[in-house]
């Protein structure tokens, strides 16, 4: 089992930095034992790596594969935050990533469109393939990648611009519309798909931030689908919303599934059960189990998964 320090480090970059400083400080304080300590540490890591269990269930499935991860590891500085993750995503499938706080599910999600690039201490190894193309290869431009793999964030974050501009921004920077009429079409179609059009069609020039929380989040979804991505990553999209807004977004996800592959991180097991076809359970940096959602919630293959979905911890 991981140390509390590691658990804290997984929570966020800020903590990672602090932790590193702690490490450095302790290293400086006992320089004499430095070599032996370093050795001990490395052995511990090895031990842990050997201890890791093969992911239970069916992490790698057959079929029309949109996205696949093979032995993905993420290090935040000295901390091995995500270990040996191997799984794949079918096209037009909703996969829920669940697990206790700091288990690495958000980290994994952010690997898929290289949002971890913005964190300087983060280092990603392994292979992630989007339609057979290596996401982390030199040829893959993160700008193009993020146009193909869209993201919806935990807190609704519309730009402080008009509703229209919020949705039009993506198509505009990528040059998806040749003229104003085409751009209008994209904007209205995206808002319609996001189920927001009736609420905002008379106030397109109002600021995106003037909407309610649930509307803002649907605006962010409209903004994401306006770029017409292949995959949509959702990082706890409903954690800041009330149950009614949550229900609306879940309905929306059903409809979006027709056109997009969706990976959603959620803390709500009911939500995972309601919306996803497959569920992946993460625990302290390990991918413990991936299987059909039904199976995960009715007959999990791993004790940790069972403890979590039955609410024994987490």
């Amino acid at each position: 089992m991981a140390t509390p320090a590691l658990r804290a480090a997984l929570v966020g970059v800020e903590t990672v930095r602090e932790h590193r400083e702690d490490n450095q400080a302790s290293q400086i304080s006992d320089l004499g034992n430095d070599v032996s300590k370093e050795k001990e540490k490395r052995m511990k890591v090895q031990e842990r790596d050997e201890q890791r269990q093969q992911t239970v269930g069916e992490p790698v499935v057959d079929g029309d594969i949109a996205l696949s991860a093979d032995d993905v590891n993420v290090h935040y500085g000295d901390n091995h935050a995500l270990r040996h993750i191997t799984m794949n995503f079918r096209r037009n499938e909703i996969v829920a990533l669940i697990g206790p706080s700091g288990c690495g599910k958000s980290t994994f999600l952010r690997c898929l469109n290289r949002m971890n690039d913005t964190i300087e201490v983060a280092r990603v190894t392994g292979e992630i393939l989007l339609e057979g193309q290596d996401v982390y290869s030199k040829e893959m431009d993160p700008v193009l990648l993020r146009a193909r793999v869209g993201m919806v964030f935990q807190k609704p974050n519309p730009f402080p611009k008009s509703i229209y501009e919020n949705v039009a921004y993506g198509p505009r920077i990528h040059g998806l519309a040749r003229n104003k009429a085409e751009l209008d079409d994209i904007v209205y179609a995206s808002l319609e798909k996001a189920g927001l059009i009736n609420e905002v069609k008379d106030r397109m020039e109002d600021s995106g931030t003037s909407l309610s929380g649930g509307q803002q989040q649907r605006l962010c979804i409209a903004r994401t689908i306006a770029v017409n991505p292949e995959v949509i990553l959702m990082d706890e999209p409903c954690s800041a919303l009330d149950p009614i807004a949550t229900a609306k977004i879940e309905d929306l996800m059903y409809e979006l599934q027709e056109n997009f592959t969706i990976a959603i991180v959620t803390h709500s097991m009911q939500q995972a059960a309601r919306v996803s076809q497959r569920t992946a359970y993460f625990h302290l940096g390990d991918l413990v189990e991936v299987d059909d959602t039904n199976k995960i919630f009715t007959n999990p293959g791993h004790r940790l998964t069972e403890d979590y979905v039955t609410g024994r911890f987490g």
Binding site: R146, F153, N157, F159, R223
Partner: protein, 432 residues
């Protein structure tokens, strides 16, 4: 039973016992705060009161009404009609003549000189300028309000006490008699001091104005803004958004913060050695002043700019990056517009500081006595705070009120700039 083994009633009693002391210490602390604020307000009020009472009278200048005859015999005795001859003519004679009409009883060289000195030595130039504008005035007689000498002005404004012994005041007894007579005849009047806003410096207080200094300051601030704002914003963006976290950047940051605290006269020395001695830029020029002030303002703009950029929530950056905007697009489409009010506030505060800066300008020769109003940033000029310094140093009594008036003008501009900063901050403050 609680952990301490006391009953609730006992606990309440203990809390109540300490309550009075706690409340009174709170009140005491508030009283200290109010006292501090009051002291500050008092000084500020005193400062404004003295400046305004001293300076207000400078916006009015005593004028003397004279009937001036543009006498061809004096101006152009040979009837050449040559502008060059008119220009060189002795206009003082015209003033002497009209004064003699009012005071026919004054005789003797010394008295006549004292009489003539009651009208500003700038008055003949005004007459010349009038004739140049309108040659048809030749031969005519006009009732003109001409500026009085600064000492007459001071006496008429009540700033020289007539009960003081004659040897201890600049306005002599006979002049006082004449002033009283002029006043009786309604020939003395305080008029709006247009000269103060339309001319450059002068040795005669009644002819001195702040236009030269104002334009010098304006040119300087323009150069400062054009150089320091783009550079400062670019540096702030780079340091905040693109710079790697390493020792060199840390060192750079420490140095920028230190530069903001370097005494301004050091910047003056730097300007003297680099811009004037090495680059051979003109001395006393607002261009050099602006360059020096730009160097001085840069750290302020960078520091303010960085905090403005840092205040933009990271969620906005993530949103843009997540949509596939490049780093530069993210900065220019989202971060910069949101940080702009903060950036501009920082720039205006920096500019306001630059406007009030005197010391570095002394080093680069902007302290010279310059009568000409500068037309370009390359012309020799002075600046508002330096003009204040120069006038404060002058012995004439009338420069005291002009110093205060120049301070009022400088404070006005500073107030406008700071007001603009506050307005920008409130107008464009965004919520997200």
């Amino acid at each position: 039973m609680s952990a301490s083994g006391r009953s609730p009633a006992e606990t309440r009693k203990l809390v109540e016992a300490g309550l009075k002391k706690r409340n009174s210490s709170e009140k005491r602390f508030q009283a200290y705060g109010i006292f501090g604020v009051l002291i500050g307000m008092l000084f500020l009020a005193y400062f404004f009161a003295t400046i305004i009472t001293d300076g207000a009278s400078a916006f009015f200048q005593t004028h003397v009404k004279l009937s001036v005859h543009f006498d061809p015999e004096v101006i152009d005795p040979k009837r050449t009609n040559d502008p060059a001859v008119w220009e060189k003519a002795n206009y003082t004679k015209l003033i002497k003549a009209s004064l003699s009409e009012i005071f026919p009883d004054v005789s003797g060289r010394r008295d006549k000189k004292a009489l003539r000195q009651m009208v500003s030595s700038g008055a003949p130039f005004e007459l010349q300028a009038m004739l140049e504008d309108n040659p048809r005035l030749m031969g005519q007689t006009l009732e003109l309000w001409l500026p009085a000498d600064d000492e007459v002005d001071m006496f008429y404004k009540g700033k020289i006490d007539r009960d003081v012994e004659e040897s201890r005041r600049r306005v002599k007894d006979n002049q006082i008699v004449w002033i009283d007579r002029l006043a009786e005849q309604g020939r003395l009047e305080g008029k709006f001091n247009k000269t103060f806003f339309t001319s450059g410096d002068s040795r005669d207080p009644e002819m001195a104005g702040i236009l030269g200094a104002m334009k010098g300051s304006f040119f300087m601030l323009f150069v400062t803004l054009v150089i320091a704002f783009p550079l400062g914003v670019a540096a702030a963006i780079y340091l905040e958004e693109f710079a790697p976290r390493n020792r060199w950047i840390d060192l750079l940051e420490v140095n920028i913060n230190n530069l903001a605290a370097v005494p301004s006269i050091i910047y003056g020395l730097l300007g003297l050695s680099v811009f004037i001695n090495f680059m051979n830029l003109p001395r006393s020029a607002p261009l050099v002043g602006g360059l020096v002030l730009a160097l001085m303002t840069l750290p302020v703009i960078i520091i303010a700019g960085r905090s403005a950029i840092r205040a933009v929530p990271p969620s906005i950056r993530e949103a843009a990056l997540g949509l596939g905007a490049s780093d530069v697009q993210t900065v220019f489409h989202h971060v910069l517009p949101l940080a702009m009010p903060g950036l501009m506030t920082g720039a205006i505060i920096g500019m306001a500081r630059a406007l009030g800066e005197t010391a570095p300008l002394l080093m680069i020769g902007m302290v010279a006595f310059i009568v000409e109003v500068p037309g370009t940033p390359f012309d020799p000029s002075t600046a508002l705070p330096v003009q204040i310094y120069l006038w404060a140093d002058s012995p004439e009594r009338a420069f005291v009120e002009r110093t205060a008036a120049a301070i009022i003008v400088l404070l006005f501009f500073l107030l406008v700039m700071n007001g603009l900063a506050v307005w920008l901050r409130q107008r464009y403050e965004r919520r997200w």
